[in-house]
Amino acid sequence: MRENKKITIVLGVIGADVHAVGNRILHHAFSEAGFNVVNIGVMASQEEFINAAIETNADVIVVSSLYGHGEIDCRGLKEKTVEAGLTDVRLYVGGNLVVGKQDWKETEKKFKNMGFDRVYPPGTMPQEVIDDLIEDFNLS
């Protein structure tokens, strides 16, 4: 197992979203890959993400949104991290971000504009995020 322990991930499912299965698998996959995972679970508010990141001195916040309200739920998160002084914390988001099957390019742009560093389409496998984490944090 790689020495990824130094990287701390705050993981959670934002808003009123209760989709728990993907969260459990991401937790498992990130841990197996050697990361330090702080899982705040489903139905997590923006504040819970921020607080967990502050408390654990996190490197990256991985937000899941499956149920379609991601657009409403994620607005302002970036601004809140900045306010909280978490300017170096990276923001990833993935799942089924919007309501319905929409043009992916549009959705990606929307979330990038909201301040997310990486935005993932439905069905992204954990290994892809792990590879990106390794790249983003020069771990390889």
């Binding site: 009123a16 698998i25 149920y67 379609g68 309200h69 409403i72 309501v99 319905g100 069905g123």
Partner: protein, 485 residues
């Protein structure tokens, strides 16, 4: 007011005390007038009534097809339902409620409505019925010629029930367990059970006025490798709790596992066991029906592959002779479907249902084994829950969950014991790898262990959490059993 778990039918005066508080949670609560609502229902044409449709389906031995559907705005929602009725040929319709309403966050739902108006597309994943109010609900009911049901996932659905039932809906999905454990994180069971006793009591009120409202229990739970014994036990408890409040039309739900034998055995035993326990509790005049959910876990992204899953779900439902099937769409893995995709799912389903209308899975040794094990498992769980309750089934349920005698795989609720690990056996049936605290006999445990061991031998690996993960992904990747690569 403190929640209290009723032992029997809630006293009407006490109910009214609770009621005045419920109706204050959002302005539209004031629109509800029970007598007027009962009068409205009496005028409703029978073809728009769910209990009648279910009885007809049972009589004719056919399986009804019902989609999921709901958008933020009233006019758009009506157009959606009309489309699914005309183009999709749906036998009955839903009104799927958005996730904010499900969490009683009516303010956020309002924001969703407003933004949807602005953006010109639905920003909500369902229809916020509470915000829209009674009159709007009646517009929905009257806009289509088939019955419409409220489908959601709401731990506290009291206001939603008040408004939609007064609004003319004739079926209401959910239950104190099935709409809490998979749908919430921190709602205590005693609270959701009490809130659903309220809903059932409300339905009981209508029943007392001679108006039967169908109550459907949400069988699939987390939709992810839930073994039949778990969903059956929970469904039967919810049926008993509903019957206690005077409910007379109950639809028992089950989410397809994917193994034909297990699924057929499950549908058959679900009705049999429910009737057995209802009788044990003295309820002999409850109309029972079954609903089969096409695969509720992760779907393939590819639309043609999704059609394959849908077709197999339809076939299994028909061969099991379920009274109704809830239809998925080819967009499932991507997002809430367009109306066209939704209609396509219904039509593919109906083609299969009609082709299989006159066929069923014949009795066989293998089917008998599956039915047997389900009955044994359910009886041992239910009898323990009943014992725990010392005469109060709702209380027994709370205690059973605490003890892990009831446990739902992958549920988000912190009031779930959370120790079960399901996995498929070598033929695709869902078994248990970890039993948590289920009160299973040695015989049952060995049955599961041997089944999973057989798969392990076939795959040359020890059963483990990796096997579970492989099974969770399997259908999405085009298999049933998550074989190692």
């Amino acid at each position: 007011m403190e929640v209290e778990l009723a032992k029997g039918k809630i006293d009407w005066d006490y109910f009214n005390q609770l009621r005045s508080e419920v109706l204050q949670a959002w302005p539209t609560g004031q629109e509800v007038n029970l007598e007027e609502a009962a009068a409205y229902h009496k005028e409703l044409s029978p073809q728009r009534r769910f209990p009648e449709l279910l009885k007809a389906a049972e009589r004719e031995g056919r399986t009804l097809a019902q989609p999921r559907a709901g958008v933020a705005l009233l006019q758009e929602h009506i157009e959606l339902l009309q489309y699914l009725e005309k183009e999709g040929e749906a036998d009955c319709l839903p009104t799927t409620i958005d996730s904010y309403t499900r969490q009683n966050r009516y303010n956020e739902a309002q924001k969703g409505i407003d933004e949807s108006r602005k953006e010109g597309r639905s920003m909500l994943n369902g229809f916020p019925a509470v915000n829209h109010g009674v009159a709007a609900c009646r517009e929905v009911i009257e806009a289509v010629d088939v019955p419409v049901q409220v489908r959601h996932g709401t731990p506290d659905a009291r206001l939603l029930a008040e408004i939609t039932l007064a609004g003319g809906f004739t079926s209401f999905e959910g239950g104190g367990i099935s709409y809490n454990i998979p749908y919430a994180k921190a709602v205590p069971l005693e609270r959701s059970l009490a809130h659903w006793q309220y809903v059932d009591r409300l339905v009981g009120y209508y029943q007392d006025q001679g108006i039967t409202i169908n109550r459907e229990l949400f069988g699939p739970l987390t939709g992810t490798l839930v073994p039949p014994c778990i969903s059956h036990s929970i469904g039967i408890i919810e049926a008993l709790l509903a019957a206690q409040q005077g409910v007379k039309s109950i639809t028992l739900g089950y989410g397809q596992c994917g193994s034909l034998l297990q699924d057929v055995a499950a549908v058959i035993t679900l009705k049999e066991l429910a009737a057995e326990y209802l009788k044990k509790f003295g309820y002999t005049d409850v109309e029972l029906s079954t609903v089969f959910h096409q695969w509720m876990g992760g779907f393939p992204q590819d639309e043609s592959r999704a059609f394959g899953v849908i077709g197999w779900g339809a076939a299994s439902a028909a061969l099991a002779k379920a009274n109704k099937v809830i239809v998925k769409t080819s967009h499932e893995a991507m997002g809430v479907p367009t109306k066209e995709a939704n209609a396509a799912g219904i039509k593919a389903t109906k083609q299969v249902l009609n082709m299989l209308k006159d066929q069923s899975l014949p009795e066989s040794e293998e089917l008998r084994v599956e039915k047997d094990i389900i009955c044994k498992e359910v009886r041992v769980i239910l009898d323990r829950v009943i014992d725990f309750g010392e005469g109060n089934l709702a209380l027994g349920t709370v205690r059973a969950f605490k003890a892990g005698v009831l446990d739902v795989p992958f549920a988000p609720s912190k009031f779930n014991y959370g120790k079960l690990l399901p996995a498929r056996d070598n033929n695709g049936a869902v078994r248990l790898l970890d039993f948590g605290n289920l009160p299973f006999s040695r015989e049952i445990i060995e049955f599961h262990q041997e089944k999973i061991a057989e798969r392990g031998r076939e795959e040359g690996r020890q059963p483990s959490f990796q096997m579970v993960i492989d099974d969770i992904y399997a259908i999405g990747k085009g298999m049933l059993v998550g074989r190692p690569r």
